[in-house]
């Protein structure tokens, strides 16, 4: 029996299609509890590979008879070892190529909309970590918003569709993942925009992103309209694109809202967060399609693997937008916070340009889910 590698892209397709499969995760129990391949129809078994060195006999009865087993570990080495042992016992087995490292780094571009005069809007879904980034394309020009550190994915994609990246934005100083914005801007000579209130300690030059300074992409009129929306960070800025899409950054998600504490000032910023969500966003058109910078659970994915919802629907259904009592809201966003993202202080420092760890270290810093929301 042979052991088949399965790429992160293939696994992502299974997850988006809600396929049923059996996943044997051979990492440590702690690592598995913290973060794993999520999917609505996945059955799991977690047994660390070092408990299987003498044989896989003990777990055979726990594996399905008629279904392929996908073995997953951190990088892939241990999953290959275990998969081979299972294969020798007659099981149909695959392993996740590149392990959770590859899973964390996989980006899937999904088109989320048509813009004026043939323009297009793409969402890049980082399914393993729950990060969403965007490319606005018009007349051979492209703008990027909240790009991840896998910069080649965006530059290759732009090249394939014949667009030149001219503007790169970050909605805020990220704490859960390393921004690829500066690197892409340097490589393409694009303008790198950051909200100045989040960028007070950065060590590099950037263009201050402020409300009222619309940016036009292509020679037509796709406007990117910044909207100051503090709360997750003091500088957090949303974008209204082509008068139809609201890129909400880490302020508003599909099934949750942004947490105000990752830069250390939950108590100070909870008022800003409420003002943004309950007043500033309320004044916008209900018809805007909200495109957030994260998702937390697979249920937030649409059938095509994208993440989006009408603002009006979120005002009706998102619990975080429906807490009348201000004290109760304050309690929810400061009293009940999930653990912070892995290495979030180091990630912030890296995004400010203060430290430059090597790629291996960057991978390690980004291990785990994004954890930017409160529900």
């Amino acid at each position: 029996m042979s052991v088949n590698p399965m790429t992160a892209k293939e696994v992502a397709t299974k997850v988006v299609n809600k396929e049923s499969f059996f996943l044997l995760d051979v990492r440590n129990e702690d690592a598995f509890q913290d973060w794993k391949v999520e999917g609505e129809n996945i059955q799991y078994l977690n047994v660390p590979y070092f408990d299987l060195l003498d044989g896989v006999g003990e777990i055979l009865p726990k594996l399905p008879q008629d279904q392929e087993v996908l073995v997953v570990c951190a990088k892939e080495g241990s999953s290959i070892m275990v998969a081979e042992m299972l294969s020798e016992e007659g099981k149909t087995v695959a392993y996740l190529k590149g392990g959770m490292k590859a899973w964390s780094e996989h980006l899937e571009p999904v088109k989320v909309g048509d813009l004026k005069d043939g323009g297009e809007l793409f969402q890049f879904v980082r399914i393993g970590k729950g990060c969403l980034s965007y490319m606005v394309v018009s007349n051979g020009e492209a703008a990027l918003i909240d790009a991840t550190r896998m910069t080649g994915v965006y530059t290759d994609f732009a090249q394939e569709i014949g667009a030149i990246i001219t503007h790169v934005f970050d909605t805020h100083l990220h704490a859960d993942h390393i921004s690829g914005g500066r690197k892409i801007a340097e490589a393409t000579n694009a303008t790198y925009w950051l909200p100045p209130k989040d960028a007070q300690e950065v060590t590099f030059r950037y263009q201050p992103l402020e409300e009222g300074q619309d940016v036009t992409i292509g020679n037509t009129t796709i406007t990117i309209q910044p909207l100051y929306s503090p709360g997750h960070t003091i500088g957090s800025t949303s974008f209204i694109i082509d008068e139809s899409y609201l890129l909400s950054g880490d302020i508003l998600f599909i099934d949750s809202i942004g947490r105000p504490d990752l830069a250390g000032l939950a108590e100070d910023w909870v008022g800003d967060l409420r003002e943004t969500l309950y007043t500033r966003y309320k004044e916008l058109s209900d018809e805007l399609i909200v495109l957030p910078a994260h998702f937390m659970i697979m249920e937030e994915l649409n059938d095509d693997g994208s993440v989006s919802e009408k603002l009006g629907t979120l005002f009706a259904k998102n619990h975080g937008l429906n807490i009348e009592d201000e004290a109760a809201f304050r309690e929810m966003v400061t009293g009940n916070l999930p653990p912070q993202p892995n290495a979030y202080q180091e990630i912030r420092e890296m995004n400010m340009g203060k430290i430059s760890p090597d790629e291996e270290k960057q991978r390690e810093m980004e291990i785990g889910p994004n954890r930017c929301a409160v529900r």
């Binding site: 440590n28 702690d30 590979y49 070092f50 408990d51 990088k75 080495g77 241990s78």
Partner: protein, 75 residues
């Protein structure tokens, strides 16, 4: 720190540091200490959990010049 044997697992990727450690530990007597040198970042969490699960004691660990060092006493 004293050890009865040193295992050089530098440059090896998971699962090899643990596979080799396990083999070396089989050769030792109860109470003897194996010193392991590894460069795989995952070795720390894995060796700690493995030692616990099989009843060995991770006596000490250190990082020197990018090399992770572990001292495990056979249980």
């Amino acid at each position: 720190m004293n050890s009865d044997k040193v295992l050089d697992a530098k440059g090896l990727a998971c699962p090899m540091p643990i596979v080799k450690t396990k083999n070396e530990m089989n050769e030792l007597d109860s109470g003897q200490v194996l010193e392991i040198h590894a460069t795989d970042k995952g070795a720390k969490a894995d060796l700690t959990a493995w030692a616990k699960s099989v009843g060995h004691e991770l006596v000490n660990h250190a990082e020197e010049g990018g090399v992770l060092k572990f001292w495990i006493k056979k249980g």
